[in-house]
């Protein structure tokens, strides 16, 4: 039997997806397939256009089927040729370039176009949008919007629906000031009720978008170039570009012209066939089914399956029953989901609601006869996956309504993952079920990344990536394979730290760029690895290497800790927290002279001058005339102390003296992570020496206990007793030996509280105290050389290392810092 000719008009998501479904049902043996598409591309994922505009995805990443796919499947594609006529009598379609193709079966998937309201001065004489005014519908629109946004200061978006808000967020990312003009009194008024819309407005305003509600745009201002908008109430909003996102209109003209029944769109039966012609199917946004026209992606997938089942005969009874509507807003920092009814519609409808506007939280469920009829969730979408499932499948809800809003006393995560049904659709963008993920793992894919690229789960909007990763781990029996780079000192060089140190020595590599050139894969720099390598070179070569400043984190370039507003903190050295009246007076004078926003006693017994602009740092340092306190880096930081035996009636040792000696020895020393020390004059531990990276505690009999690996930060751990020694000098020597061993063996950013248990206390004690490996002398020498190579970096204030070092990265024109 010869094949039938199947012609598909429209190469968007609906057309291409439907053809994919047909191909999997034996379509290649039944049909010669011809497709027409307006756009000169393969087909792409239109729901990700927002990501292209906000820059989080490149245009090339959103293609679903590249041009090669058509070739591979023997599909004849007329890309860039619009169909201008259908003749149902002769069963032919005619393209704008004169192509005529005969069909046995026809699928109309012409989708929809942007609806542009009649606004004065918005159009060119030929009816197209004027320059710098855009619809937000196609890849070409996106490209043009991005190009214009980069040259614009103020952008206006007409339309405060889902797409309009996503466009607004995208424009913001390109540095534009953004106004949203919305005709209704509430943003996303189709999907949200009033309280939710008000909270969304606040969230958008917090992001920096100005929202105008109840606003009707009357005309576009400006003759040559767009200069603004005038609203009906005569408000004028200046802008130099414009995006119109006011809804869509189905492309149903072809259907109407060839005599098909068209109301809002082309009317179809439950098989997705035109009600007028059994050989013509319609799918997607140009189809009207039981009075409904759908503009979302999920209904289109469902329609495509039914159509494919029917046209191939795989299931001649396949019947589309309409879709339930659920949406999520893809705006970074704003979590909004909505499904079904947003208000009660029947007297017996039950409302379950939680409202906490201060934190941007709002949850509302409409429950009808024990099943979910609709929901709005804002601020916390943790229950949305479950609710969408319950809504879609119409499953009965638990009696405990609270558990629908929050995870209260939920079973542990692993258990609930196991309980998820196998057919649960984990990735709603690409339709990947829990079972499919399990099967993919069973085929030997043992990392989340491999499973995602094999199944396409998580490759759509990306919101399910966490769940996919958890499921991969579950199917791997908790033994999901880790990334091998975890054991490397830096991910781009496949060597552990001791191996890397050996290679650096052997090849005499004395700059970070030389290390990349000679050891990194492909010789390519990895910016994230630069500080780790700079730290390592300092350990290996002490002061004798080329100190490339760009390899350092900003804190280590300007010798202060960067704050959230881009200013820095200045903490002068105060060993053991001991200071003089003259020093305090000088600090006070400097604080007043420079109008320091915050003066704060730190947890490390020092004084912090917070909020110094970068360009002021050299002046502040000069006026303080105190050495740097090293409070910013992966380095020795501070040594706290109590007043000890000299004053305290319980004191057993000279804790202040020891603190000063430790600070003088270790100040300025690079380290894998920060090192915080303390000395305590007795076991009462007032200076908290038990919970420091290195702590020394005086005990009866003129002895000192040395503790290592303590922490009282995000991790709380009592240090391990390394040894007991007889003198302050021994404390300095053994602490130094331990610190040097740590410098040579710890991963970058690995604090001692992780390092000590990883290596093991017994092994460390054997090396440091008993010299079991015969390296004690070498460690002591290396520490002495390293300590000798340190200097007071604040002297660079007088002689900057580069002309960029103390130049502001926060221009004064900025309104927040003017």
């Amino acid at each position: 039997m010869s094949k039938q000719s199947l012609v598909v008009i429209g190469n968007g998501m609906a057309g291409a997806r439907t053809v994919e479904e047909i191909l999997t049902r034996g379509g290649p043996d039944m049909f010669e397939i011809t497709m027409f598409g307006d756009e000169p591309y393969g087909n792409y994922n239109r729901i990700l256009l927002s990501n292209v505009v906000n820059g989080s995805q490149d245009a090339s990443e959103i293609f679903l089927n590249p041009l090669g796919w058509y070739e591979d499947n023997d599909i004849r594609l007329h890309a860039g040729e619009r169909v201008v006529a259908i003749d149902r009598y002769s069963k032919t379609v005619t393209g704008a370039k004169g192509t005529v193709v005969r069909y046995d079966k026809l699928i109309i998937a012409t989708g929809s176009r942007a609806f542009i309201p009649p606004i004065r001065n918005l159009f060119k004489p030929d009816g197209s949008l004027r320059d710098r005014a855009f619809a937000f519908r196609s890849l070409d629109d996106c490209t043009a919007i991005i190009r214009a946004a980069r040259q614009s200061r103020v952008a206006a978006v007409i339309g405060g629906g889902l797409l309009g808000l996503e466009a607004a967020r995208g424009l913001l990312a390109h540095g534009c000031e953004v106004h949203v003009i919305h005709i209704a009194q509430a943003l996303m008024n189709v999907q949200l009720d009033m309280p939710a819309a008000n909270m969304l407005k606040t969230s958008m305003e917090t992001l920096g978008v100005t929202v105008h509600l109840g606003a009707i745009t009357e005309s576009v201002l400006g003759d040559q170039q767009i200069s603004g908008l005038r609203l009906k109430d005569d408000t004028e909003i200046p802008c130099d570009m414009l995006v119109v996102s006011t809804g869509i209109r189905p492309n149903s003209e072809l259907g109407r012209e060839c005599g098909l029944t068209v109301e809002r769109a082309i009317v179809v039966d439950n098989h997705m066939r035109s009600v007028d012609d059994p050989n013509v199917y319609v799918v997607g946004e140009c189809a009207q089914h039981r009075g409904m026209v759908y503009g979302l992606v999920a209904p289109l997938w469902e329609q495509g399956k039914v159509l494919a089942d029917h046209i191939t005969g795989a299931d001649a009874e396949a019947s589309y029953q309409g879709s339930k509507l659920a949406t999520k807003l893809k705006v970074m920092g704003v979590e909004v989901a909505s499904m079904g009814s947003i208000e009660p519609e029947q007297p017996t409808d039950e409302i379950v609601q939680f409202y906490e506007p201060r934190r941007g939280m709002y949850k509302k469920l409409i429950i009808r006869k024990g099943r979910l009829a609709g929901a709005i969730m804002m601020g916390d979408l943790s229950k949305v996956a479950y609710l969408m499932q319950a809504f879609d499948k119409n499953t009965p809800l638990p009696e405990e309504r609270l558990s629908l809003l929050f995870d209260i006393g939920a079973p542990e995560k692993g258990k609930s993952l196991e309980e998820l049904p196998a057919e649960l659709q984990v990735c709603n963008c690409n339709g990947v079920s829990k079972r499919a993920i399990g099967e993919c793992v069973a085929r030997g894919n043992r990392t989340a990344k491999a499973v995602m690229s094999a199944t396409r789960a998580g490759m759509g909007c990306g919101s399910c990536k966490g769940l996919v990763t958890d499921l991969v781990d579950l199917f791997c029996g908790g033994a999901m394979e880790e990334d091998p780079t975890l054991h490397y000192y830096v991910p781009c060089i496949p060597l552990s730290k001791p191996e890397l140190i050996a290679a650096v020595r052997a090849q005499n590599l004395r700059s970070v760029s030389a290390v990349f050139r000679c050891l990194a894969q492909g010789g390519v720099e990895d910016p994230a690895s630069k500080p780790a390598l700079a730290s390592l070179l300092s350990v290996v070569w002490k002061g004798d290497y080329e100190d490339e400043r760009d390899a350092r984190f900003i804190n280590d370039r300007v010798h202060g800790n960067i704050q959230k507003d881009g200013t820095f903190s200045v903490i002068p050295e105060l060993p053991g927290g001991i200071c003089t009246a003259a020093q305090l007076r000088r600090i006070a004078d400097v604080a007043e002279k420079y109008q320091v926003p915050l003066l704060k006693l730190t947890g490390g017994q020092r004084i912090d001058l917070v909020g110094i602009p970068k360009e002021e740092l050299p002046h502040v340092w000069r006026d303080l005339a105190m050495p740097a306190g090293w409070a910013w880096g992966k380095s020795y930081r501070t040594c706290k102390s109590c007043i000890g035996i000299e004053y305290c009636r319980f004191g057993l040792g000279h804790s202040m003296n020891l603190a000063v000696a430790l600070e003088r020895r270790f100040r300025g020393l690079d380290s894998p992570a920060k090192l915080k020390l303390a000395t305590a004059g007795c076991p009462r531990n007032c200076s908290e020496a038990y919970v420091k990276d290195v702590g020394a505690v005086a005990v009866e009999g003129n002895k000192w206990e040395i503790y290592i690996g303590g922490a009282a930060g995000s991790e709380i751990r009592k240090g391990d007793l390394l040894c007991v020694v007889d003198s302050e000098a021994d404390v300095v020597r053994l602490a130094g030996r331990f610190i040097q061993y740590y410098r040579e063996n710890a991963k970058f950013k690995e604090r001692t509280y992780a390092f000590v248990p990883r290596i093991g206390l017994e092994k460390i004690r054997a090396i440091i105290v008993d010299d079991a490996e015969g390296i004690a002398e070498r460690l002591d020498t290396a520490m002495a050389e390293s300590a000798a190579a340190t200097r007071d970096v604040w002297l660079e204030g007088e002689l900057p290392r580069t002309q960029n070092q103390f130049r502001t990265a926060l221009p004064v024109v900025d309104s927040n810092h003017g």
Binding site: G175, K614, T802, A809, L810
Partner: protein
């Protein structure tokens, strides 16, 4: 309609670093990579407005110093984080001065 602005000599920016300029009301960070590339982006990170010029620079990417969002300098697209940044065409004129197109 691109507008060209001359910012200053390239040597103002040490290799491997960035520097911020105010240009016609825009704050622009300009970067000189060690591999010889010259790039310009919006000055502030879209996440929490961190100063990108103070970030860590790679051959074609920049990492914000505040929370380590990372961006591709050639396209502005995001590598780690949730959204991209604006990038501007930038080049050296015959005298070696940085020239920016806005």
């Amino acid at each position: 309609m691109a507008e060209k602005r001359t910012l200053g000599p390239a040597e103002e920016i040490p290799l491997g670093e960035g520097r911020t300029y105010s240009v016609a009301g825009h704050d622009v960070a300009v970067f000189r990579t060690r591999s010889g590339g010259l790039y310009a982006t919006q000055a502030r990170c879209p996440h929490k407005r961190g100063p990108l010029a103070d970030g860590l620079l790679g051959p074609t990417s920049i990492i914000c110093p505040l929370h380590e969002w990372q961006f591709d300098l050639t396209t502005g697209s995001v590598i780690h984080g949730e959204c991209g940044i604006a990038v501007y065409p930038v080049s050296l004129d015959p005298e070696g001065r940085i020239t920016l197109e806005l």
